[in-house]
């Protein structure tokens, strides 16, 4: 376990890393904390980037998650961790500086996956993605003058992009190998979003053969089946990849992310949280906001208190704004079959619905309804938090 005055290095300054730093302080850790921030931008929240920041309804600065200044917290900005020496308890930085630690929080998150990562970019051109604050700023500015865009990928992010662009009067084509949100959320949510997308004028093209990016007149274009789609902009929204390359050679198991135990630990001095962490059996990443918060808190408690700390309880929860729909979902997706309506009405697009298996709730969806996260967890059959 970590000595109370030991040095903790936190690698990554998005919501998992920031929460870990705050949690260390809140739990009475008195030693030095070093926060490694690869980006020069001040820490920010990602959920608004594909929503209000992209549409221009909110300034990029509004997404910031500023950290309280403290003499105990050293912030290393614009420098990335490039290696981990487990035996020597040291993180190496790109600048060459070694950072010795007594405790380490791995929170390096994930980055956008590209069509090239999937082997489908034959254009030789760089792809446009939306992941960082800089991505959001650039895309926001480009959307202001665009008249037609092509989005590759009909997952949550691709469809949020489509929503924002359609609301700006841009002609939107979404290319995908399956119906919107189908594998993430199941057929009910998929059909709901698809109906709204079409009602808002979005052209959805689905073909399991997959998209190839090609070059047309010096610009990126997308081929699906035998058709090539062109626009002012082609944006790839095909998932994410964990930032694990810096851990190569460390001996840590990093497939499909940094594999952690039931308390988010890799060893008794190394923990991982957020999009980079893979939890459960078989281990899987669960890259969502609430998961990053819960894992960071569990991880820090385990670093400080070992086996006396509570185990991580998965309470899946995420939300998305899709056209005229504000969706909040809890439980274990995909949701299958028709749900029971607990409140409101689906015809009015104002409802709380629930999916059950053998009478036991396993999923819930709120459509255009304010609902406290605790109530949605309850409707979704999620466990009650075990960490305060």
């Amino acid at each position: 376990m970590l000595p109370p005055d030991g040095t903790v290095v936190v690698v990554g300054a998005s919501i998992a890393g920031i929460t870990a730093v705050e949690e260390l302080t809140a739990r009475g850790h008195t030693g030095p904390i070093v926060l490694v921030e690869a980006e020069v931008s001040a820490p920010y929240a990602k959920p608004p980037l594909s929503k209000a920041v992209l549409s221009g309804a909110a300034e990029p600065e509004s997404a910031s998650i500023p950290l309280a200044e403290s003499a105990r917290i050293r912030r290393v900005r614009g420098d990335a961790a490039v290696r981990l020496d487990v035996a020597g308890s040291t993180v190496g930085l790109a600048s060459g500086e070694p950072l010795p630690f007594d405790g380490l929080v791995i929170a390096t998150g994930a980055r956008a996956r590209t069509v090239a990562d999937l082997g489908g970019n034959t254009s030789g051109l760089e792809e446009r993605v939306l992941r960082t604050l800089d991505d959001a700023r650039r895309l926001r500015d480009e959307l202001r003058t665009a008249s037609a865009i092509v989005i590759v990928g009909a997952g949550v992010l691709g469809m949020e992009l489509a929503s924002v662009a359609a609301s700006m009067g841009i002609a939107v084509t979404v290319l995908s190998n399956e119906a919107p949100l189908l594998s993430q959320c199941g057929p009910f949510v998929s059909a709901l979003v698809e109906r709204e997308a079409r009602a808002h004028g979005v052209e959805l093209v689905t073909d399991p053969s997959g998209v190839t990016l090609v070059e047309r007149g010096g610009r990126l274009a997308a081929r699906l089946g035998s058709t090539v789609y062109e626009g002012d902009l082609v944006v790839s929204a095909v998932g994410d990849r964990p930032n694990i390359e810096w851990l190569a050679g460390s001996g840590l198991v990093c497939l499909p992310g940094v594999v952690v135990d039931s308390r988010c630990r890799v060893t008794d001095r190394i923990v991982a949280a957020g999009d980079v962490a893979a939890f459960g059996s078989p281990p899987r990443r669960n890259p969502h906001w609430s998961n990053a918060l819960d894992q960071a808190r569990t991880a820090v408690a385990a670093l400080l208190n070992g086996d006396e700390a509570p185990e991580y309880l998965a309470r899946p929860y995420f939300w998305s704004d899709q056209f005229s729909l504000a969706l909040k979902m809890g439980g274990h997706t995909p949701f299958l079959g028709e749900p029971d309506v607990l409140a409101g009405s689906l015809d009015d697009l104002d409802a709380l619905v629930q999916w059950r298996r053998d009478g036991v709730p396993y999923g819930a969806l709120a459509v255009n309804r304010r609902i406290a996260i605790s109530k949605l967890h309850l409707a979704a059959g999620n466990p009650t938090a075990n960490i305060i």
Binding site: A63, I65, S290, R370, A372, I373, S374
Partner: protein, 63 residues
């Protein structure tokens, strides 16, 4: 230290309520209620966690 909410931004997710239940609560209509605007010395870390947890940055702390 004082905590405040921008009601035009708050969408009632409720992460803050989980982080600082003594300061913030969603009422029966899921509107955010600030139980104590003044944040006591022993509550400051919890208040910071609550503010960080908000996905729409609707909460503000004044030191």
């Amino acid at each position: 230290m004082k905590i405040s909410v921008d009601r035009t931004r708050c969408e009632g997710y409720g992460f803050c309520e989980e982080k600082a239940p003594t300061l913030l609560r969603l009422d029966s209509d899921d509107e955010l209620e600030i139980l104590s605007e003044e944040v006591g010395d022993d509550q400051q870390d919890r208040a910071r966690l609550a503010v960080r947890s908000c996905p729409v940055a609707a909460l503000r702390l004044e030191e």
